[in-house]
Amino acid sequence: MKKKLVNNPDDVVEEMLAGVVAAEPDRYKKLKDQNVLVRADAPVDKVALVSGGGSGHEPTHGGYVGPGMLDAAVAGDVFTSPTPDAVYEAIKAVDSGNGVFLVIKNYTGDVMNFEMAEDMAEADGIETAHVVVNDDVAVEDSTYTSGRRGVAGTIFVHKIAGALAAQGASLQEVKEIAEKVVANVRTKGMALYPCRVPAADESTFSLEENEMELGIGIHGEPGTERTEVKSADEIVNNLVTDVIEDLPFSANDEVAVIVNGMGGTPLMELYIANRKVNEILGAKNIDIYKTFVGEYMTSLEMAGLSVTLLKLDDELKELLDAPTAVDLLK
């Protein structure tokens, strides 16, 4: 049982969204009766971007709503995909007649609920398209499985597809650039300590004082491998090596990096990790174009981190650098 700064565990998402809007009333409006945050000035005359999923990953998704990134973020219950109704209401709230693009992380629930929402929206004559993000290299990828999870690499999809949409691109063009990001982004994560869902009695896994989980996702689920705790350098080496080999990334590639904290990791430790990421990439002659170190896609108070690499070309670089009002991705 973990202590938490909450009131009634059933109200955490609603109370959180009330706190978000209270903090930045000029930036957000919340839809009545649905846990959806939309840009205060929505609908904007462009292709709209909607993302969402379970809560507990803050600043994902609400933190990425704003000019140059998302138009709406749909917040499900903690670690639970939102319902089709909620996604559908988000779509309606941001559609300006230019179509709505959905960024879906590859979880059975998210895919199904978002697709059902698309069916509902299309019945209303709203054009939609989507991308399914699946950057987690820890999970086996095959047509016989549900495939890989979408994790921190999703942030790059928000930024890059958001930037293209802001430039007035068509729904099809936004979809294509999003797919290009997905094709070029890879992540692997680990945890030293699990998190706990407010409404549940226990953590979804427990670890001994000398154990850690490698290949962890962002829903408090156990990882793919449990080992004894290693040094920061050894851990980073495991993550970065698996990420590099997967795409694969190779010498003279230019990459953007996210060293992402899982929620309970001191920033100090993320920087210690980044030092090693930098060293490994340097040794492999992989060029770092931009690095983000911080909490971008968390798992409540899980302690651990993930490393994401995105292979860049000129088009992706320009969109990554494009202006956005979202301070997290500047």
Binding site: F79, S81, T83, Y107, A200
Partner: protein
């Protein structure tokens, strides 16, 4: 409150009573929310029943389907929602073994269409498919309704337990790969509970 409403009320109670148990099963190989999700949806079903009036059994089942879709979220929401929606479409007002088989087949089709899983993937289908197969065999063999339902219940229970040694291929448990072995699937467990409650209410 008609009979179908009564049955779903009982299902709701069963699921709500087992909220922590289902969540615990999901903690082992998923994200620890299956019981929470299902209990949220079925609490809402109970509330809907308080105000709504239904003119047919299939209207009740359709209402259950829509309520689950709008309130459960996760994987189980659209899956059970679609399952009951499909069931409501083929359901006749008078219960017969023949219609039960048809309903079962519609349920399986709905879940497969939505989730793209197969038997053996360590999902709710592993409880449901054997249960429906048992019904169907008994129907074809001319077995009486009550006995067929008994067979169906046994098949569902075996099916639920058959998930323990399986490696998950769909849903969150699939991320665990080999480590998903040795745990009973939470969705197969809630499916068994639903089948069990229906059958016990009918018999």
């Amino acid at each position: 409150m008609n009979k179908t409403e009564e049955v779903f009320n009982k299902i709701a109670d069963k699921i709500i009573d087992n909220k922590q148990y289902l969540t615990k099963l999901d903690s082992a190989i998923g994200d620890g929310d299956h019981g929470i999700n299902m209990a949220r949806g079925f609490s809402e079903v109970k509330e809907e029943f308080e105000s709504a009036e239904f003119d047919s059994n299939s209207a009740v089942v359709k209402k259950v389907a829509m309520t689950l879709i709008s309130n459960v979220g996760g994987a189980s929401g659209p899956l059970y929602g679609t399952a009951f929606l499909q069931a409501s479409k083929v359901m006749e007002e008078d219960l017969s073994l023949k219609n039960a088989v048809k309903i079962g087949e519609a349920v399986i089709e709905g879940i497969k269409m939505r989730g793209k899983a197969e038997q053996g993937d360590k999902t709710m289908l592993d409880a449901i498919i054997p249960a429906v197969n048992a019904l169907k065999e008994d129907y074809e063999a001319g077995v009486e309704l009550e006995e067929a339902l008994q067979d169906c219940l046994e098949a569902a229970e075996e099916g639920k337990e058959s998930t323990i040694p399986l490696v998950a291929k769909k849903g969150r448990a699939s991320y665990l790969g080999e480590r998903s072995k040795g745990h009973q699937d939470p969705g197969a467990t809630s499916s068994y509970m639903i089948i069990e409650t229906i059958i016990k209410e009918i018999i």
